[in-house]
Symmetry: C2
Subunit: 187 residues, 2 copies
DNA sequence: TCAAATATACTGAACGGTTGGTAAGTATGC
DNA sequence: GCATACTTACCAACCGTTCAGTATATTTGA
């Protein structure tokens, strides 16, 4: 099928960026088609509906974070301190390089009450994120405590991303990262 | 003017609940009119546009929190520990009694990139919230440190509200409140 | 005192535009 | 020739917004 202009993966990735910036309800199928250099009819050739497309986007983004970021936590090439540092630095880059914040958090707060079918995708994403950070912190804390610290860190992370967007000051992210690293050092 | 079915304040308050649950873009003027027992034409008699209505809603909610919650931090009838406890307990009730989470956070993540005119209302709300918590923590920490802890607490709070909605477990809120109280005790 | 004039809250229909989604037809490559 | 990818045109429904008209209360003035 070399007559396809762009791959399904590219459509999903480009759609993810548009959804993150404009939100789910404020993004039309035409917006997505324009961003991909296509007409919206093509989208209905590849995806059943806007909701199914969004599910594919959420799944794709989850997979991208799983292999690119979360996997770092399970590597055995670094010390826990190095792992946490690499993890947080990479996370910060992924979230703050382009405006629009975190697609998963944006989608959660926008659609959780009106489109519950997205909920499982959001749940699994954050569960995986927490698992990854639990893995890192459990090198210093016991499983239980490590998980609670991981949950706290993810919560603070999303709060900091929101503050970064609201106030436009990157110190919220920096200070949050320092606190997360401190938690590993002063166990 | 007793010929008015419901007051402007009631329209704003009812609209706030609908916006919080359904989101800004997914709420139509008809939805708001139905919730108020009116027709949508009436809304345009009281508000210039949907965006102006939303600004009135954001301002009204801000005022409500200012007088009902934030004011607690400046009371001189309680010890700092009592103030923090009352503040957090009340905040938890206000946020978790009805589903939909926090209107301000929802609106921020949904509209910050596409409707920047709402940003000042969101900024001022969170700035006031941080100021209030800074006031409480500054009884134990010096101004600078108190403010950073206040910012951290608000970030964690919003993160916990999101987790409560995603996972449906109230322990995220409870554990967050415990951490916030601990920060005052082990200065 | 009691209409007439005025102001306000509201109704219901209509508007131009956009939405998610469909269908019929064309181009492309095996 | 035949499946796949794509274009174009289209649909009904809904969107935010407008507006002419109606109902109700208040103010006015003789």
């Amino acid at each position: 099928m070399p007559l396809q202009k762009i791959s399904r993966e590219e459509m999903i990735f480009t759609s993810a960026q548009v959804f993150r910036k404009r939100g789910y309800n404020n993004t039309s199928m035409n917006d997505l088609a324009d961003a991909c250099g296509l007409t919206k009819g093509v989208f209905y050739h590849h995806f059943e509906s806007k909701e199914e497309l969004m599910k594919a986007v959420l799944h794709g983004v989850h997979l991208h974070f799983k292999t690119t970021l979360f996997a770092l936590a399970y590597s055995d090439k670094y010390t826990p301190e190095e792992k946490l540092d690499k993890f947080l630095t990479k996370a910060q880059k992924m979230f703050s390089k382009s405006d629009g914040g975190c697609l998963m958090a944006n989608t959660a707060l926008e659609t959780l009450s009106s489109l519950p079918e997205f909920a499982p995708y959001l749940r699994e994403f954050f569960a995986d994120w927490i698992d990854a950070m639990t893995q890192i912190y459990s090198s210093v804390y016991q499983e239980d405590k490590a998980r609670r610290i991981a949950e706290q860190t993810v919560q603070e992370f999303e709060g900091a991303v929101m503050f970064l967007r609201i106030f436009g000051e990157r110190r919220y992210m920096d200070e949050m990262l320092e606190r997360a690293k401190l938690r590993l050092m002063i166990a």
